[in-house]
Amino acid sequence: MGEPQLCELSVPGRHGLRYPAPDVPLSPLPEALLREDLPMPELSELDVVRHYTRLSQLNHSIDTGFYPLGSCTMKYNPKINEETARLPGFAALHPLQPVETAQGALVLMYNLQEWLKEIGGFAAVTLQPAAGAHGELTGVLIMRAYHHSRGDSQRDKILIPDSAHGTNPATSAMSGMRVVELKSDARGNVDLEALRLECDHTLAGLMLTNPNTLGLFDENVLEVIRLVHEAGGLVYGDGANMNALLGVVRPGDLGIDVLHYNLHKTFSTPHGGGGPGSGPVGVAAHLADFLPAPLVTILDPGDEDLPPLYGLVNPPKSIGRVKSFHGHFGMAVRAYTYIAMHGAEGLRRIAEHAVLNANYLKARLQDVYHVPYNRVCMHEFVAEGRWEDAPEVHALDIAKRLMDYKFHPPTNYFPLIVHEALMIEPTESESKETLDAFVDAMLKIAEEAHTQPELLKEAPHHTPIGRVDEVKAAKELVLCCGVSAND
């Protein structure tokens, strides 16, 4: 691609800035910390600016093109989010400042907790978890603490449908739980018979991704939740797909006990290399005492003369901290901005348009790309990237070829229950023109698959880097580019 690495651009002795002479006495470093050489690239500021600017121009991003990456909700991230997050009152705060001097940030966090409670139908919310899977870990640790507090410590089994997000089994295993997979039925719902067989006194809970990774709303969700509760278990909701539900369904109202939100998906904070995630967790009243410490609360309601005083409180049976300070606060500012800009009506329209866009794409593609479990979808759907009369073409080849048409490929080979899966999520941000251009490319690729399959097998042809050798990348992973100390 013609862009060298920093270590290759390095010139001995070159540097970007000069430090002023110190105005305090120098203190020598301890001998044990000194080393002979420190091989780091040496460059001017301009070298570095140009290097990263060139790299950024090689990237695909949501600001440059359509990004229908299933399950990731790559929606537009409004630029006003960046303005509010950079307000000095937020950006220049120190997390150890006395609460009296950080009231604005605390009010924002408190209101975001309240809004997420209202949006999800929960009694309490923590903003601490750093991302979605971290939210899952927090949630499952809360479930475990709840069972232990009731003397129910034999409950160590977590049920996970085969249409769940891939992080769910990892979360459960990391929490010391036993994972049992549940099959989906022919319509893509949790198989109720399989669920009944697993509902026993060892059941800690079930992790439900709803809508699931097929993009389908579980038609038996109330019965699934009832069965788990009847057996003494709790239901964890994977809220990564909340974009389909905003303002329409509140998971807490369905009976879900604990759920994580992905601010970086549903609430438009950057991700996919653009920023850290954020995975707040909401819980029903019976789990509120177990939330991570601390939460933001109103310490003193104030009166006519004095404004309320916001501060921090530790829930009585807290599982402890899960993140330093208060999570990724900058993401909370962005999500707060997004929710405030949309209001309740706007949030509902987000869900409606996300679902409409996905169904439009499905309707236009399903005659050419087989869609198993084909019923009205939510925010995404899963098609098969294979044809019997083009046996050498795989989903991966279609994904690579899409890059030649300037589209980010959909998620592929997930969920595992669909062969050669292509998981397509357009989000609400996209116009009909963009959706149509994507469909046109997909239909053209299907035609190419039958007439010029080698065009797909060798794709991408028009990107800075061609087809990468994934086997070599996985087996001979070399991440370090060293600067020779002898240069």
């Binding site: 991966l396 062969h419 994934e470 086997v471 996985a474 087996k475």
Partner: protein, 127 residues
């Protein structure tokens, strides 16, 4: 797709070859083909371990997915294939031969009756 007739099969795409009281276990040609290029394989049990039918005995990763391998029968692990760690691609090239994963001493040969023969497995895969 290659489905040797002298082996028994599971729904989760493992094969077992029984010789006397010893069962040799691996994953099927269909499984390796579905996973595509395999880049990592690790047997997660050790010699001398006793494993119950359905227990996880190995983890296999390809460029597409990671998969657990389950033992089709209960028994004591008497040998594990040490060569796969450095050459997992053998699972792609020789799934029924050099890419065996573990050998197990059977506890209850009657468990074999619950497994599929080649014809039944082929029918399952065709679905």
């Amino acid at each position: 797709m290659n489905v040797p007739t002298n082996l028994k099969y599971t729904e989760s795409n493992e094969w077992i070859k029984v010789e006397g009281n010893t069962g040799t276990i691996g994953i099927t040609d269909f499984a390796q083909n579905s996973l595509s290029d395999i880049v990592f394989a690790e047997v997660v049990v050790g010699e001398g371990d006793t494993v119950g039918k359905g227990a996880s005995i190995a983890t296999i990763e390809s460029v597409k997915a990671a998969a657990d391998v389950y033992t089709p029968i209960s028994g004591k692990v008497i040998a594990i294939n040490e060569d796969l760690g450095s050459a997992p691609e053998v699972i792609n090239s020789d799934p029924y031969g050099a890419a065996w994963l573990v050998k197990i001493e059977l506890i209850d040969p009657a468990e074999l009756d619950g497994l599929m023969d080649a014809a039944a497995y082929e029918a399952q895969v065709q679905e």
